[in-house]
Amino acid sequence: MNFKLKDIVPQLITVTAVVLVFGFFTYNAQINMENRGIDFGYGFLSQESSFDVQFSLIEYDGSHSYFRAYLVGLLNTILVSVIGIIIATILGVIVGVARLSPNYLINKFAAFYVEFFRNIPLLLQIFFWYFAALRALPLPQDAEAIFGVFFLTIKGLYVPAFIWQNFSVFFYSIVAAIIAIIVIRIHAKRVQENQGKQIPVFFISIGLIFILPLLSFLIGGVGISFEVPVLKQLATTSFIYEGGVSLPPELIALTLSLSLYTATFIAECVRAGIQGVGKGQKEAAASIGLTPNQVLKLVIMPQALRIIIPPTTNQYLNLTKNSSLAAAIAYPDLVLVFAGTALMQTGKAIEIVSITMFTYLTLSISISLLMNWYNKKIAIQEK
């Protein structure tokens, strides 16, 4: 052991200082709360919440507990984050590639999109998509049907609901297809390594994912029917659609603004990633006889992804955290429901804010871990 005092002392001082500062704040908070007669405790979580929430993925109303209200908010946050991340990624990749297009129009349009959307504050964009776009939508009674079954109105997007028969058979057919695809992939890889023969895995996969569920309809007794939304009158000029599924305009506006905003950053990551792969790589790959598709799939993308993934992870985290701006437009996310209404009704500021912070921390760290795992998988394997 080679301990030296000068190595340890600064660390000791830092640790002591951190402990002191935390201790001081905890102590101070305790004294202040005691002076003002505020109790500290998480017991309120099991109390009846007695407020309703507009939109929930699980069954909830005011007779459920505050904890249930927390779950409602959390699930709504996860919902908007997941949809947002998926759309932002697809859009980001398309725009990122488009920025490198030799086609002048596509190139400039993508550049314009990126510069426009990333330079306007997100909150303003949310307000725009909610308040400005909302006013432009028709009232339910004036809405034109899209494909005869969708209705986009100021009160939300109404879509038909699926009514399944033997849904489990359909579900298992998809699971079976996925397992089959994985088996074929492993097999194809082995065949290629041993015999150098290539199996068109992609087309077989596409075929499987369509044919197996289709078979479940034909011989598995799976049936599907639609419940189409129907206009219902509430008062002389007040209408609503009943039946089907209704997506609140708050969810649509929030998803739209979050994905359009984040996609610009992802597009830049993608562009940087592709440009970061040396030109020589492409030329070398072409010179050994790979087709342009193979060049992209086997040479460019694996290297580009290494550059793209870490900054894109940041963007996923940003999107998740930015979803808390939902409170401004009444989308019942974690901040609005739990750190908003529940906090106000219980007055348990420290407890609720700490739970909310911890939840966002957990969400962000989960995304980070997942992306780090993926990053490690595609990183250069040192042998």
């Binding site: 000068k6 002392v9 600064p10 001082i13 830092t14 200082a17 002191l20 500062v21 001081f24 101070n28 004294i31 709360m33 002076n35 003002r36 007669g37 505020i38 109790d39 007695s50 407020f51 309703d52 929430v53 507009q54 109303d61 005011g62 308040f131 909302l134 006013r135 009232l139 100021i154 009160k155 219902k232 509430l234 008062a235 002389t236 000029t237 007040s238 609503i240 009943e242 609140p248 305009p249 708050e250 409170a327 401004a328 437009i329 009444a330 019942p332 609005l336 908003g340 209404t341 906090l343 106000m344 009704q345 219980t346 007055g347 348990k348 500021a349």
Partner: protein
């Protein structure tokens, strides 16, 4: 050696910060809030983000409203000048935390007095400056004239963090109506969404509805339904634990109401010093030593009346003359058929 210099300085700074904090909290005396207010030279008052008649700022940043007048009355009593108030606009969500954390000293922001708020979260309500009740606003063209015409599927816009959210549930549940609550953080956003047609009805305190109606793109297209579905006594709030400050705020409000009862106005207050009625003389500081109990001089109540006016003047200036609620309804004095009744100042 330079390596540690940085760490050492930050440590010293941290210790210094610790000491200042501890010495200050030890200096807490009888009414810390009063002392601090007098030291700072202004009253720190939390108000709404803009509710005409209650607390609203004009283009020049001057605050007016009956909630604002409560804070001005306290400033007149404590500091001698009704204008020495620093207003902090707060959302419904922020208001209590701002008060309990000590960012403001009075919360005068159309806040409903309820048991759980009074008892649970370190607050004390000092009185009622407006008796209100929750109501519903709808578009005239909808043909709805009563809440009994509400049907399943109705969407209702409101604010989060208010008693409104709870009352709304109680109301719709008791009627067995399925409804869609759309709750925003700011009142302006609620109004914008309702005005755009997002909701069929807008629900909040009736005074709030009347005030917000003036902000709609076309106020005449909207009506407030006659039903009142809850009791909403609105009043100023202070932090729990400083009973002297609590008394000052309570009696500043009471002074305004009692002054109206005895006909003392900002115009005639000085002349009232020679009145024959001892109750009036006490209110204008010509008899008794009422201010001493709070550690104030004897003219504290006279200053309130002279600088801010009595409750009736404040109501007329802010709510009646602005066309929000010309009829005082329950907010009339008990002697005139209302329910405004305050304990005597003696």
């Amino acid at each position: 050696m330079f390596k540690y210099l940085k760490q050492l300085t930050s440590l010293v700074a941290m210790v210094a910060v610790l000491f200042t904090f501890t010495t200050e909290s030890m200096a807490a005396k009888k009414s810390k809030t009063l002392k601090n207010t007098q030291k700072k030279g202004f009253v720190r008052c939390g108000v709404s983000q803009g509710l005409p008649g209650f607390s609203n700022a004009d283009a020049a940043g001057n605050w007016t409203g009956i909630d604002v007048d409560v804070c001005r009355a306290v400033a007149a009593a404590v500091l001698g000048d009704a204008n020495k108030v620093k207003f902090t606009p707060l959302s419904a969500k922020e208001r209590f935390t701002a008060l309990t954390s000590g960012e403001i000293d009075i919360l005068s922001r159309n806040t409903t007095w309820t048991l759980s708020r009074d008892a649970d979260i370190g607050l004390t309500f000092v009185g009622v400056n407006f008796y209100d009740g929750q109501g519903f606003m709808v578009r005239k063209s909808s043909g709805i004239t009563s809440t009994s015409q509400f049907k399943d599927g109705i969407s209702a816009c409101t604010n989060i963090g208010t008693t409104t959210e709870l009352n709304m549930r109680d109301f719709f549940n008791s009627k067995g109506i399925k409804y869609e609550p759309v709750a925003f953080e700011k009142a302006d956003e609620v109004v914008a969404a309702y005005d755009a047609g997002r909701c069929d009805t807008y629900t909040t305190d009736k005074s709030g509805l009347a005030a917000q109606r003036t902000k709609m793109s076309n106020p005449d297209e909207h009506i407030v339904l006659p039903e009142t579905v809850s009791k909403e006594p609105l009043g100023p709030v202070v932090r729990q634990g400083d009973s002297v400050w609590e008394d000052i705020v309570r009696w500043s409000l009471n002074t305004m109401i009692e002054a109206e009862e005895y006909g003392i106005t900002s115009a005639n207050a000085d002349m009232m010093k020679t009145s024959d009625n001892p109750a009036i003389k006490r209110l204008v500081g010509a008899e008794g030593e009422l201010g001493a109990a709070f550690g104030l001089d004897n003219d504290w109540s006279l200053r309130i009346i002279k600088q801010v006016g009595n409750y009736g003047e404040s109501y007329k200036r802010n709510i009646a003359d602005t066309g929000i609620l010309p009829d005082r309804g329950p907010n009339e004095l008990w002697t005139k058929g209302g329910i405004l009744y305050v304990p005597p100042a003696r």
